[in-house]
Symmetry: C2
Amino acid sequence: MNDTGSRSWRVAVVGATGLVGKEILSVLAERQFPAGELRALASEESAGDTVAFGERQLRVDALGDDSLQGVDVAFFAAGRELSAARARDAARGGARVIDLTGCFADDPDVPLVVPEVNGDLLGPGGAAGHPRIVSAAVGSLAALAAVLKPIDDAATVRAVTCSTYEPVSGIGRIGVSELSAQTMKLLNGVSPDPEEFPHQIAFNAFPEVGTIGPDGISSAEREVATGLRRVLGLPDLRVFATAVRVPIFFGLAIAVTVEIERPLSVATAQAALRTAPGLLLAEGEDGTYVPLLDAVGTDAVHVGRVRVDPESPTTLGIWVVIDCVRRGAAVNAVAIAERMLRSAE
Amino acid sequence: MNDTGSRSWRVAVVGATGLVGKEILSVLAERQFPAGELRALASEESAGDTVAFGERQLRVDALGDDSLQGVDVAFFAAGRELSAARARDAARGGARVIDLTGCFADDPDVPLVVPEVNGDLLGPGGAAGHPRIVSAAVGSLAALAAVLKPIDDAATVRAVTCSTYEPVSGIGRIGVSELSAQTMKLLNGVSPDPEEFPHQIAFNAFPEVGTIGPDGISSAEREVATGLRRVLGLPDLRVFATAVRVPIFFGLAIAVTVEIERPLSVATAQAALRTAPGLLLAEGEDGTYVPLLDAVGTDAVHVGRVRVDPESPTTLGIWVVIDCVRRGAAVNAVAIAERMLRSAE
């Protein structure tokens, strides 16, 4: 369900044939988003294809100069270059833009939003006013922010160290195809060449997600560090991330270690996580957790294996898993749109 | 090559048909270990099988009460229960025992050894004297100790946070078979049931390696923490590990974050790692690393992606990969045997 008032809106999804674009359409349909008109836009090659919107099939149009005219809400999920080229024009033309590509993550004039954490920036009385463009935090950042907020409220977070287990769907359908094809080849005794990733990804793992900069930090790692400081409003927070690609399709996992100011018992930390919005705490015996695959298809940020270092009562460990495409991208983006529209009637 | 003097020795490999046992035989052959006699021992079911020792084929015998009589050196690589039941008897019977199962990792009377780091405990004048049993550190611990030693020498290590990417071979051949079989089934549209692991491992990841204790820490995580303190001789070192099983066959990777006392530049840290025994530094452009698969079949602990947190000059990140079975187990164990024998002529 949603709470965007009684009006209906003209909505566009740019990149509608991609993994994330399709998932946005699913989430819009499931949440009965009041889309009076819905434009599914993609590149020339996909024009004429159809994509599902609930029970209906939508015809895909090629994104042209006039495609976004008259649109109230535009989701950009077609890659950074396209967002850089078109998102500001769309906003100037009157659309509220939700960008999912990270293109504006470092722009101080564009709010970087994780709905459960700093969604109040948007909407009536929000500190961001009525922004025309909002940057939706990427999956790992969105999950980490949602997990760290209640811990920070309970015990003040001083530093975060994390390692990711990132799926091939992080680069879209081409990543999914590459892992399938390579796995199939290897099981048939054929050695595959990498095409979309820097190395073979089947039965492999490597610490290169995005581009590694001259300081040795990858763009994925930098986005998590600078993004957490922004979203949590903690400019001095120490964050050190290692982003690693693993041979997994849709789930994303993060091993998080948090240094807190005041000691927390496991039970108190679990209590803080249990009541936080958007999280689902794995309950059961000690050490219970959700394996990465079980998060796929769900809307929650799953947390488990909450534990305190026996030698250091201010060191907390948490295992975090989400569906990278659905929860990490589409659900967040639609929730942001709902908040933007709530104040726009 | 080796340096165990001119004598020849009677050697036994207990668990000779397992992944680790077979690899020990390979390494003994490659290093021309002076084995005058070599007994390949395994359970009843494997008796009569053959295993390779260089160009030769050895007949496998069932491990019986007299199998270790007269043996000078016995490698135990057949599981903790068997080590617990038989290793002390073998030592009392005159054998030098190298245990690879972790059975004695917490026993203060049994040296826990990573040859490059604290191998001097053994052999002439070593602090451990002439121990009859030595515990060979498991793969992740051996790799971490070898990497942290030169960093500690250069800048004093205060705390270590690490996450592992652990292969299915960590539980032996049954793990390798399970990943192959599950992958094949999934590619044929059949949903596999987990048998040897707590969850499906194909295209999955979960933070459960060994057994999770009542404090929420897994046995693999505890072994790394207590083992690093012992091997590095730093009883107050803070170590927080997350051990995660991933769908990979033989390589083991570790994302390591080290808090050091004195700031190090990337170049200085690299210089310390470059000259440390047993390590191989990935050289090249900034951010160079070895993907997990490339470590398979090699004897080195590969280190790369050495980087300093731009916001905190005493936080260092390192990506570490080894062949779990070969380097993480067999090479270490044979190197320990060589050191034990050097002083035993």
